[in-house]
Structure formats: structure tokens, C-alpha cells
């Protein structure tokens, strides 16, 4: 029995390890295009600045370590064709550029996603980078070492752009961030976007929203960026927009691709083609709040999907399920923590809900306890049923509040359920009533007011 896995980052390596644990006999081969498998891609922005000291720290396991578990990991290999009828693979060894054939009994597609550079004039200049793989940080690192850029431009105000902005500032660069929409952190509501922009500006980042880059200028090396009627000098550009799932190979093999342009899988991570599973950043899943197809490429989710795909491929059964995601995410930008779960108000409205929400700024600990800081929390709920639809938070302890709300969404709780929830209180850890309880109580207050209306009429 031969299991072949295409892709060796989070989902692929997890699937391989799971399959090996469940089946000590199975042949397992992982093909990986990049030179290292098992990369912690979420750590790349921190490698740029030296917050993560060594690139080795981001490699969870080398091919040798996998070999110890009898898992063959072939890096610098690209699978270029899948014949599902004969179960044959065409593989290119990128070191020699030679091709060879392989076969599989069961296949897991974990080809991930890639960053694409938008077709902006000058995007091919030296000094314009994307950031997706460890090799990207290698290139950026070399460029920084050779040319000591003083001014950097980030294109895109999503979480990668924001994390990179922080880390380039740490290197002493003067950083500008350009976002095409009218605010950064667009997956969040306007309160959070404002907080993020304020944090960027407080740390010296020039923030330009509602601006599309017209051109990168320079002779050989980038030396400027034009947008609107502005032109900024820049020695380095990192483009943090345009990530797409790598599905071309699967699509050519006849695997169904979904509305999100990622691979369709069922709850068992099975694709539309027999003996082919898929997992990670290349697959489409379900947003469990909206019930709609979702493509949310994140390392933790990829890991969870890989576990399910690896288990089910190893057992050739529907042993485990991956039900879907909530759309939970978090990032840090300078000293601001920003997290989200479920749907934003805008996303909830687009999904057809009639939305009620309550946002508040609360203390992160008892008001009298030293070091008290503020945290924003917004709860988003369905007016008709009270069901919690989402939450977003920014500030001290936003990670905790986000995870409480993610768990509440996972349990399909409503905001009235949260008014009396028994969370952990002591003065160093929060106000007596958690911001989650406070926000749920505000939402419930609408009920009180309705009731007061009834009383007034009596």
C-alpha cells in the first residue's frame, strides 16, 4: 500500500505522520517543491527582523527526521501530472530537471497556496518581494544585507502586511503601508481598523488607505512607488496581497474545484476523485457560522485537516471528520493584539442574517489592579434567534476573548447564554464580569428596554 502526499508543509507532514502512526507498513512519500519541509510559515515575518533568531527554528522537522519514521520526504521535487486512471504521477526533480514516474494507491493533495504578485508596472524590479516561503525570507534577507534599505513599502493591510510592517520597523526602516480599501484589517469592523491604524501610526508607519499602487519605479532596483498623486521613495517593497490556492495540478487531474477556487472535499477530506484526499491551504471548507463555502488558509487549520486526511487515507475509511471552520484569526501588530472569530457585521449581513451587535471598551483586569489596559470587544449576533455569529477584539487579552467567543460559536451558543457564563475571575485576569459577559448583557439589555416599554404602557 503506497500513500503519496503532494506538499510537505503543515497539512502534508501532519497527514504523513498520522498515516505512519496508524499504519506501520504503508509506504509513504511526500513530494515538496521548496527545499525544506515542515516550515512554520507563520513565523516568517519574525525571521525577517531577527525576532526569530535562526531560520532553522522555523523548520519543525528535517527530511532525515521523517526518514527516522520511515517517511520519505523528497524536497525540490514537483509533481507535474496525476493520472487518476492508472494512478501514475509524473515527477520533476528540480535539482536535475529530470522527470520520472511514480505510482500511488492513495493520494493526499496538500499543495498549499502561493502568493502572487499583482501585475503592477515595476513589480519585477529587484527589491520587490512577496512573502510566503522560507526561500522568500532568504531572498529578502540577502537583499537587506546587501543594500541596507532605509525605506520600505508594504502593499496590503491584511495580517501579513501588518506583521511585516512591525518587523521591518524593528530593523529601523521607515515603513509605509498602502492599502487599496479605505481601511486596513478589512475582515474586521471599523473600530478595530481604526485601532490598528492608530497603532501603526503611533509606531511611525505611514498608512495610506484607499490607494492603489500605480507603479514601482527604479532602474534595476526599486527606488520609488507611485499611487494616486503621491510618489514615495522606497528601497524595499513587500507585497502582501494576492494569495491563491495551488489547485492547477488537482484540477487537471479532474478533482472538483469549488466556488472559492480551492479543492472541494467532504467532511472526511475526500475529494471528488476516488483514493484522493486533500488538506490544508489548497482546500475549500465550510464556514460553520454562515454555512457557506470558505477558503481560509491558516496553519492551524491545515494541521487539523492534515490529521483528518492522513487518518482517513491510512484507514481508507471515514474515521475522522473535519466539520469546517469559524474563520477565527489573530495577529499582533506592535503592541496591539487583534483577533476575530465567526463573521464580521458586514459578513453576517452578506450571509443573510439580521444583525445585532454590541461593542465596548473594557478593562483587561480589575480597574484597581496595576497595569490595567483597555480591550475592545464586539459581539455580533442574529436578531431573530440570539445566536452568536461572530466576535472581534483588539487590545490587551484580545486573544483570550477571541478564543472564548470561538468556543461559544463552536458550541452554537446565543448571547443570552453568555450573560451568566461562569468564566474565571480574579483581579489580575479581568474585570469582575468578563467583557464577553458585559457585551452579552448589553445585547440582552434590548430585551429589558422592550420590557420597560411594556411596563410603561401598563
Amino acid at each position: 500500500m503506497r500513500l503519496v502526499i503532494l506538499g510537505g508543509v503543515a497539512a502534508g507532514t501532519k497527514a504523513a505522520s498520522r498515516a505512519r502512526r496508524l499504519d506501520p507498513e504503508m509506504e509513504i512519500t511526500v513530494y515538496q517543491e521548496e527545499p525544506e519541509p515542515s516550515i512554520s510559515e507563520c513565523g516568517l515575518p519574525y525571521l525577517l527582523s531577527g525576532v526569530v533568531g535562526k531560520r532553522e527554528n522555523l523548520i519543525a522537522r528535517t527530511p532525515e527526521k521523517f526518514a527516522d519514521k520511515d517517511i520519505e520526504v523528497l524536497v525540490r521535487h514537483r509533481v507535474e501530472g496525476v493520472d487518476t486512471a492508472s494512478k501514475k504521477l509524473s515527477v520533476r526533480d528540480l535539482r536535475t530537471d529530470e522527470t520520472f514516474d511514480d505510482t500511488y494507491d492513495r493520494l493526499i493533495v496538500a499543495t498549499g497556496a502561493r502568493a502572487v504578485l499583482p501585475p503592477i508596472p515595476g513589480v519585477d524590479l529587484d527589491g520587490v518581494f512577496k512573502l510566503r516561503f522560507l526561500t522568500d525570507t532568504d531572498e529578502i534577507g540577502r537583499y537587506i544585507e546587501e543594500r541596507s534599505p532605509r525605506k520600505a513599502t508594504i502593499v496590503g493591510g491584511g495580517y501579513i502586511g501588518l506583521e511585516v510592517a512591525e518587523n521591518l520597523c524593528r530593523l529601523g526602516m521607515e515603513v509605509s503601508l498602502i492599502e487599496g480599501e479605505d481601511r486596513v484589517a478589512l475582515a474586521y469592523g471599523p473600530e478595530v481598523s481604526e485601532s490598528v491604524e492608530a497603532e501603526l501610526e503611533a509606531n511611525g508607519v505611514g498608512v495610506y488607505t484607499g490607494e492603489m499602487v500605480d507603479e514601482f519605479t527604479g532602474e534595476g532596483h526599486v527606488d520609488g512607488v507611485k499611487f494616486g498623486d503621491r510618489e514615495l521613495e522606497t528601497d524595499l517593497v513587500i507585497v502582501g496581497v494576492g494569495i491563491r490556492p495551488n489547485v492547477e495540478l488537482a484540477a487537471e487531474a479532474g478533482v472538483e474545484i469549488g466556488v472559492t477556487e480551492a479543492i472541494v472535499v467532504d467532511r472526511h477530506m475526500k475529494t471528488s476523485v476516488s483514493d484522493i484526499w486533500a488538506a490544508g491551504d489548497c482546500v475549500q471548507t465550510t464556514n460553520l457560522v454562515s454555512g457557506r463555502p470558505a477558503w481560509i488558509p491558516l496553519g492551524d487549520t491545515a494541521n487539523q485537516m492534515g490529521r483528518v486526511a492522513g487518518t482517513n487515507a491510512a484507514t481508507d475509511d471515514e474515521t475522522l471528520e473535519f466539520p469546517g471552520v469559524l474563520g477565527t484569526g489573530i495577529f499582533k501588530v506592535f503592541d496591539l493584539n487583534v483577533g476575530k472569530t465567526g463573521l464580521s457585521e458586514k459578513e453576517a449581513e452578506e450571509a443573510g442574517f439580521e444583525v445585532v451587535s454590541a461593542g465596548l471598551w473594557a478593562n483587561d483586569r480589575a480597574a484597581y489592579y496595576p497595569g490595567v489596559q483597555k480591550v475592545f470587544l464586539k459581539l455580533i449576533a442574529d436578531r431573530a434567534t440570539g445566536r452568536l455569529l461572530g466576535a472581534e477584539s483588539a487590545g490587551s487579552g484580545a486573544d483570550k476573548l477571541t478564543d472564548i467567543c470561538a468556543t461559544a460559536l463552536w458550541g452554537r451558543l446565543s448571547y443570552p447564554d453568555l450573560v451568566n457564563i461562569d468564566l474565571a475571575y480574579a483581579p489580575p485576569y479581568g474585570p469582575a464580569l468578563s467583557p464577553v459577559i458585559q457585551a452579552a448583557t448589553i445585547l440582552s439589555g434590548k430585551f429589558d428596554r422592550a420590557r420597560e416599554g411594556v411596563r410603561a404602557k401598563e
Copy 2:
């Protein structure tokens, strides 16, 4: 319509404020024995050391502030009799020692709990204190100022004893802690107790477990403590054992008292006597995990109960419900965070569950992210159904893990539900898979092993 509330700390003042908001016309009087209402009792250990700078910081609202909302708060008044037939109260003004009569239409009993000193010889010596009220910290503070104690003894290794130990150390005292059971933090499993004891010892606290105090010695002032075959010099003793609900008045009035010796209320905080509600540290509630009566006096719960009692008393209706508690708690001792929700393994077994558990030490952030620290998490579940029964955590981020698990318990999730839960991941906030997911996966692993057994037989 006249509402009288007995007790003006967390539950009583919250009930008063809620009632006023819902009914602008109602007469509302709060009787409070202590000289200040609305005290943040959880902050008292931190006032001792000056971590909380001023006692005023622990007074959320003065009687004058309540008067602004047309709520009469009479401090230094003790209600000594309740005639439920005539709805009359006998009240003593403790400043003049005079008594007078009052009446009520609706009554809320929020008389709280008190610390009782165990009948140990020498417990009446000067320098032996309990810590429950702001007036206790006033007395301890005066004693410390006058006598500059160098050596302090804490009796009791529960969370109050532990918090006090930390705060007396901050004052430069040499602190010993004596616990009758064989470990501190008895509500937790042995791993957490060990961590707490190690943290105490690392900070210079002498920990004596399995020891009962035989005698406090001294002439007038305490100067020693005898236990087992030991005798320690001590200049100050704080006894952190023996908290009891204040229910004598309610019991005399015919209100039903429960097996926990606290007042029985229904889900609407109504007592067994008509027109009498109760809330806070004097009431018995339900542990929603075990389904059994529970008495867990905590400030946040008192606040939530007060909201329900105040609303229902104001509306004379079953407007709001308080379903019960999980037994969630948290404390900090030096740099160690310790939290719990639901049942410990021992408590779960006592409640009749067949218990499975998984404990692990995990990272509090990505292994490569600077400042990584360890955190312990144990999940406790029901073998038959997989239902989560409890969790306990110690270390960095224990508050977050406790609250995630509390929310999972609140939603009655099982451990298989938690394997794929979509929590917030980025390198500064946790490992790629939360310790909650890791522990749930370990529990699920038993399933895999069972399955492997089946495969081996095939």
C-alpha cells in the same frame, strides 16, 4: 412598592442598581453592616501589600453615589429580624446601638459569607487575623505599621491563603504557609498542587502540608505557632480557612437552607418564602457539571446572581434565570497563574462519573517565538459519553485555557468536539494547535489505539 436588600457588597448593590434601572419609582433601601458598601473583596490581598495603592480603589461606589440613583444605602446597620408574615424588619444602627422597625414589600437577602477563626488555642491573640472585609485589611495594616512583623504565618493553602502569602512576601516578610491536607490548592489535581508548592518555595515561602496548627503562642501578641513537632516564630498570622455563608437571619425567618448550609433558591433566585429572593455568597446554586448543589462564593458569580435577583424582584416575575455555575476559579500566586473549571478528577469521580483525563505541559506560544513559557493543562472527561467534565491549568496563559474550557463546558461540548475547534493561532499567542486541542487529541488517541487493535486482529 418598597424593596429592601440585606447586604451591600457585590450581589446586593448589583441587585439594587438593576431594580432601580427597571423601576424608577420603587423605594430601594440597602442595609450593610460593614462601614462601606460595594467593596471589591477580591482585591483585599493586594491592598495589604500596596499593589493596590489606596483602600478607596476597592470601593466601587459610595453611599452618596447610590443616593444619586435614589438608592438608600445604610451602612453600619444590621437587620436582626425578619417577620415574613407582617413583612417587618428589625434593624440595629450599629453606630448608636439603637434598633428600629422597617417594612418591605419585596426582600433580597445578600448577606454574603464570613470568615470564621477555627477554635485553635491562641487564636484570639493580637496579631492573628482573618481576611474577609476591608475592615480586616485596615486592622492588619495598622498591626503591620505598628509592629513591623518580620515573620508571617498563613494558615490554609486555598486561594486566599496563597494570594496573601504572595502579598506578605512583597512586604519583605518571611512567610510560612501551613495546610492541613497533604497538598495546597486541594480543588486541583496533584500536578497543579506541585506547581503551586514549587512556586511558593521558589519565592522563599516555607510550605508545611499535612500539618494542623496546634496552638498560637504569645503573651498578648502572637509570637509563635506550634504544629506537629514544630514550632515557628511568627509575628503575624492570617487564617485563610473557614468561610461560611451568613444565613442565620434567613433561617430564623423560615427560608429554606440547603445541604451546603447556604440558602436554597430556584433558577430565578427566589427563596422558599414568598417575596424573598437571595443572591451572592449566602446562596446555594447548582454545579451544572455534576448537577449537584454547590456553594461557591465568588465575586463574579455574586454579581451575576444579583442581576437576576434584582431584575426578578423589581418585576416580581421570572424575567431572568441564573442556571448555576461550573465551579470556575482562578488565582495568581507570584508568577504562576492557576485556573480551573468544572470538576477535578476527584470531584468527577465523587459525582459518579467514570473519568478519563489527559494532562500535558505545552508551550504558551510558538516554540520559536521569544519568551516562550510552559503551561500545564488537564482535561477531564466522562469515559462513556466523552463529555467534558472539567479542566485545570497552571502557567503562562492558564487564564485563557481555563476560559476556553469553561466556555466548552457551558456549551456541554465533548472532547471529540474540541479536536477540530477553530481557535485563534498566531506565533505570539500559542502553539499552532492550542493545548486544549492537544489534550483533546490525546483523549481521542485512545480511540485510535482501540482502532489499531482492531486492525491488528484483522
